[in-house]
């Protein structure tokens, strides 16, 4: 959590998943790409779209709607991939998060952010850093490090009887 002074304003990138608006700390965002071909990796959960070639590096792409258990819709013309930096266990990984559209960069003062409510979001509360107030509505500010940390994948094919590595 970001312990800022009263004067510190942070910037967030807002994006949509289905109709809802979410936000990410802009410091974590490297770039935004148009959705291009993603190579699917077999034996991975549905929310892993696959990998893409980002200037010579192979970067995984996550379908955030699937991750959050939201309904799945067709990819639209605005679908894009947000390339973010995630820090887990002192390791920094780069990955892409698929979004339906990207909106704007929002400045939010600390007093415009509320802690996440324990119920009502239908999301794992760990994933949400806070609720940002914008106009009449709100945006859910995601804690990317938490959202993508639990992604040690269980491979298909490893069964109940023999829970080896």
């Amino acid at each position: 959590m970001h312990e800022g002074t009263v004067t510190e304003t942070a910037q967030y990138l807002t994006f949509t998943l289905a109709e809802e608006v979410f936000a990410l700390d802009i410091g974590k965002v490297r770039e935004v790409l148009d959705f291009t071909g993603v190579t699917r990796v077999p034996r991975t959960p549905e929310f892993m779209c696959g990998v893409i070639n980002l200037r010579g590096n192979v970067v995984p792409v996550v379908d955030m709607r699937r991750k959050f258990g939201m309904s799945v819709t067709e990819k639209g013309v605005n679908t894009c991939i947000i390339i973010i930096e995630v820090t887990v266990d002192y390791e920094t990984t780069v990955l892409g998060a698929m979004a339906d559209s990207v909106q704007e960069v929002l400045d939010l003062e600390p007093d415009q952010i509320e802690p996440p409510p324990r119920i009502g979001t239908k999301l794992n509360i760990e994933f949400i850093r806070g609720m940002g107030k914008r106009d009449e509505g709100f945006v859910m500010i995601l804690d990317v490090d938490k959202v993508f940390s639990a992604d040690e994948l269980v491979a298909y094919g490893a069964d109940e009887g023999l829970k080896l590595l």
Binding site: T39, P42, M48, V51, V58, L153, A158, D159, L162, L164
Partner: protein, 680 residues
Amino acid sequence: MMEHFRQTFREEADELLAELELSLLELEQNPAEEELIDRVFRAMHTLKGSSAMFGFDDIAAFSHEVETVLDLVRDGKTAVTRELIRLTLLARDQVKVMLAVTAGAFPAADSQAEAIVAAFRELIGAEATAASLPLDASRPEDSGTAMTYIISFRPDREIFKRGLNPAQLLNELRELGACRITVLTDGIPLLADLDPELCYLQWEIILTTTHGVDAIHDVFMFIGEESSVEIEASHQKEPAAEEMTGKGERSPAEPARNDGGQEAAGGRENQEPLGISSIRVASEKLDHLVNLVGEMVTAQARLSQTAMAHNDAGLIALAEEIERLTTGLRDTALNIRMLPIGGTFSRLRRLVHDLSHELGKEVELVTEGAETELDKTVIERLADPLVHLIRNSVDHGIESPQARLAAGKASRGTIRLTAAHAGDSVLLSLSDDGAGIDRELLRAKGVAKGLIMTGAELSDREILNLIFAPGFSTAVQVTNVSGRGVGMDVVKKGVDELRGAIGIVSNHGEGTTVTVRVPLTLAIIESLLVRIGSDCFVLPLSLVEECIELTRLDIARAHGRQLVNVRGTIIPYIPLRERFGISGEQPEIEQIVIAEVDGKRVGFVVDHVIGEHQTVIKSIGRMFREVQGISGATILGDGTVALILDVQQLVSAEEISERQKLASETMFMEKGDNICMKEQ
């Protein structure tokens, strides 16, 4: 500049210390080996000399003490004993600590150095000898008072043969002050008897100088006993005389180059010393080079593809040339990173030595294949896993001497560590003749930890593989050496990260052997590019034996079993399209890529075999670490991503899933028949 020398000195000292350690351990096993004694002495001697040169007086003084002892050993006055080796190893460690201090580490209490020196003195029964660093030999100061001296210089006839030139000495005298030189030629024989390599001349010099008689002695410092120099102070002040050069001063070593050598090192000095047979390169530079080579390989693939597409003969020929050069560059760049694994072996040798002392066991480490070369990064990352394996072996594998004798074994246990090339991999094996692994105990532990179900049928290999599960340790007594089950799962993880494989074989009572296979290089491999649907994959070419067609007829012939007859041999295959859940239409004729996995031949079914591909390995990240069958990715010429297949994992996963299916089917059947069920 001094800092540069110091850095070089430090690196050199590190190497010396590593060599010293190795030699000491070998010396312990072969105490009479003179070559080793010499090597040990030399290492300490060089350390002393170099450290003094660059201002590290404490290291110089300390190593001087040790060198003194080693000198006695060299002369046969002190014997090589275990205690001597132990002290010398401690001394080595102490120097290492002192070196670290020079590089900025915190200085520890000085008592270690003193204690070691005291122990040495006791060992050789010597009295304290003051460590004397050589005195400064510099030219005496100019006193200011002019004195006149008469110098008789009678050089030894053979003086030229020692590379000395009397004329040069005379020049030097001239620099001290006004000189009057007279040459005496009586010694010159007749021409017929004259040997041009001998010096028949002698000189008388009258020199007036303010520098004092020591300065004169300095000039003649090197001439030795065979020549003679007499210096007499004259109490008469002679007026400064014109110098007279001697006649017949020709000598084979050409004199009179008074202007010599002082030219500025301008553009002329562009010739590098021819001496160096190897150079140091910073790791980062090497990594950068390999990265660039990787990108080059990818770009070259695209070039070749584009050339083919354009169907231009000239362009194609050029693309082939570029391919040839790129391959050469790749091989050379990767080869630069190869180092022999012997360095790691030495480190382990010391570990075994220390551990066996600490645990009261007698263990010998035998190595083979120290010259086997691996990629530098692979060696670095193998170090920790090997240390863990050795620890386990000494701690849990090798029994105490008493236990071993009781079991009818020699009291000294042996750990055998070997390395050898195998195709594009390196096979390392670590085996001990210790207690081996009790499979029943292992199985019981596995059940207790909930890793396996009671009554589950497991092959020996699967039971032994339990040892790699996290948090697993059958050590009854957790010693502080191996820790709490921290060993094997971490080892496996380390090996996996290197895209390697680890296996274990053990016989209770006889010993354990762990084999590790790692790729020679982490960066680029030759592979076979295949396609299923619209997805591309690659397999390591070194494992591929052949590709054959698989028709619908072949499939039908097998009646649901995934087997095919290849020239008389039955080969199982894995239908990758099915396993990977790839959508789209299955072609009428598919291709089986037959590869060798763990000594067996297995086929992998794909739609098309595209061809050979130089695969620059890109990591796909920790998120995919657990995916069975995919070990990395690569970028194709057209920019799309192809996944690298891990054939070993594919086969293992297949084995497991088949066994599961069989087990559940059996259960189902028995239930249906109302037969009393085995406990599942």
